[in-house]
Amino acid sequence: MPIELRINGETKSVDVPADMLLLWVLRDVLGLTGTKFGCGMALCGACTVHIDGNPVRSCLLPVSAIGNRAVTTIEAIGATPEGARVQKAWLDLEVIQCGYCQPGQIMSAAALLKSTPHPDDADIDAAMAGNICRCGTYVRIRAAIKHAALGSAKEATL
């Protein structure tokens, strides 16, 4: 039976098993390959998407559990103020190397800035601990999150 999903502001109807995990619906059925497969066990964070603005590991989320909640992926996160700031900060500070984990990193960072606009190191560590980077870009990720938060402060004073 087709399942309706709200993804990146559009309603998509997918004819998939109810227990199919969101990651594979995004990647293999809808062709939204920006969301990455890394481990399939919520251990690496590469598959992070937002469900109603909260970061969720799509590799363990059955599509039947989503209902009417809004799914946002890396392809559309730039349309949110936090997502746009994080993407810009990532490029300003040249965070990215191989880049495979970075969609997940950016999704986690954007969610953090939405809930905590001015995170300290402990906030950043807590929010980003589940996102692994094999290139080791952690130091620049932390700096870029602060840079993005600063962008928010600047906008607020304007």
């Binding site: 062709g31 490029l91 880049g99």
Partner: protein, 482 residues
């Protein structure tokens, strides 16, 4: 969301020999396709003076990358070298993956078309400078001819040829056809480093904007019309075989299309990775451990420790070490470096479309030409029937210097109709990595007056180079090196 373009595979276009307008006749895929329509290294309608540079009529400067991007920044560093000597407009520069071609794209240091050993800039520094300088000379030659002036009176900057005396300029885009008629100079003069405008200056990476937006395409992201998805279980013992496979449960999983049973692995083929993974979990497998079933870590450490007591080849000897080591207070320590999986963030994968007389491959690899020859050998096809499309690599670390994933994918694809994406689970990726080898280091030192007087380091381990690039190993008197 941006709508992704839907297009047939390059093979379909090539084999049909039809023009673009007829393409609608092809069955449209159920999902989006993210492979470029144009083959890599296309020279049609472009100024293509050598293997690395393509300038089209719109002024876009395409650099064909002889080394692969796996995070190290080479898709920015190599364009900087080319753009510098070409005097290209940096803002018009884009990169393209090189096709498999050992002759055109071999790494001069490694002698094969491979990216590794942290030598990309060092190896390609001179060839790319020469390529850029030659192209620049041809563009200047074309403009000088057009203006009927001495080429020596012209200069170039930011993608334009300039004749200062008359104040005239011509953009490279306008010279594409004429420059192709100019013979390439044999030994074009290179810039004095003092003149460098791009090299040595900070620039933004060319590969990262797409990566930040989720638009970058890695091998695992290859999407083709009618594609099926597979995942596999290989024999957990090296040299072992499959003894028994019960696939009745797997075949009941919705979306599972096929179970491919080979002598040392099983693959489940489905409509998506979810079905393939569930199908794999539902298999009941029994393995025959084979001749190496008894080999475990304890045995390997025991054997390598024993081997380390033997005399080996001498890599380096300075002074009278024997004498120094025979005197004074002596220390000996042993260090064990375990097998390590490379654990690239992008799990190992390979997409194959195999037909009776052709084989097309999509993946991210550090060894384009070796992937092509390995696929040809596995498929039983001549080299020219194998096309390899390289992608961005979600990490390499040497794991993608190996073609084992290609062998497995082609073997599975022999039993499957249409394009097949084979993605390893993370568990399979770790278990069947071609591990960084074990090493056993036996360090001995003697002290004299509180200072190190004698030092002996005996390194015991399997050699990667001996297997991977035998001539380099024998050329180094059979002494291993990194």
């Amino acid at each position: 969301m941006t709508a992704l373009a839907v297009s047939p595979s390059r093979r379909a276009v090539l084999s049909s020999g039809l023009a673009g307008g007829v393409l609608l006749a092809f069955r449209l895929p159920a999902f989006a396709v993210n492979e470029p329509e144009q083959p890599p290294d296309s020279t049609a309608g472009k100024f293509a003076p050598n293997a690395f540079i393509r300038i089209d009529g719109s002024g876009k400067t395409i650099f064909v990358m002889p080394q692969v991007e796996m995070g190290q920044g080479v898709y920015t560093a190599l364009p900087m070298i080319l753009a510098e000597e070409l005097d290209a407009d940096w803002n018009s520069v884009v990169f393209e993956h090189a096709p498999a071609n050992e002759k055109l794209y071999a790494n001069p240091v490694l002698t094969v078309q491979a990216t590794g050993n942290s030598n990309s800039v060092r190896a390609f520094w001179k060839p790319l400078r020469q390529a850029g300088a030659a192209a620049r000379a041809m563009l200047i030659g074309a403009a000088a001819k057009e203006w009927n002036v001495d080429p020596a009176s012209c200069t170039a900057a930011d993608g334009k040829v300039i004749h200062s005396a008359s104040g005239r300029t011509l953009p490279y885009a306008a010279l594409v056809a004429a420059a192709a008629q100019i013979p390439p100079p044999k030994d074009p003069p290179l810039k004095d480093p003092k003149q460098f405008k791009i090299i040595g200056k900070p620039v933004k990476r060319l590969d990262t904007p797409a990566k930040a937006q989720g638009k970058a395409v890695y091998g695992i992201d290859a999407m083709l019309p009618g594609m099926k998805f597979a995942t596999l279980a290989a024999c957990p013992h090296f040299g072992g075989k499959l003894a028994h496979c019960n696939d009745s449960g797997a075949k009941k999983i919705p979306g599972v299309r096929q179970v491919v049973v080979l002598d040392d692995l099983v693959a489940v083929v489905g409509d998506h990775m979810w079905a393939a993974k569930k199908g794999l979990d539902a298999l009941k497998l029994m393995w025959d451990p084979g001749p190496y079933g008894h080999v475990d870590s304890a045995l390997i450490w025991k054997e390598i420790a024993k081997a380390s007591e033997r005399t080996g080849l001498v890599a380096k000897k300075i002074g009278d070490a024997d004498k120094a080591l025979a005197e004074g207070e002596k220390f000996e320590r042993h260090y064990q470096m375990p097998f390590l999986a490379h654990a690239t963030m992008e799990p190992i994968n390979c997409t194959v479309h195999l037909t009776n007389d052709s084989c097309e491959i999509w993946l991210g690899t550090q060894i384009m030409a070796r992937v092509q020859s390995t696929a040809a050998a596995t498929a039983g096809l001549p080299l020219e029937k194998v096309i390899v499309h390289n992608h961005l690599l979600g990490g390499g670390f040497g794991r993608r210097l190996e073609p084992d994933m290609v062998v497995k994918a082609v073997r599975i694809a022999k039993h499957v109709d249409g394009p097949l994406k084979v993605v390893w689970t993370r568990e399979e990726d770790i278990q069947h990595d071609l591990y960084r080898p074990v090493y056993y280091d036996r360090l001995t030192a003697t002290l004299k007056d509180g200072r190190i007087d004698g030092w002996l380091d005996r390194v015991t381990g399997p050699s990667i180079v001996a297997r991977w690039l035998p001539p380099a190993f024998t050329g180094n008197h059979n002494i291993d090196f990194d």
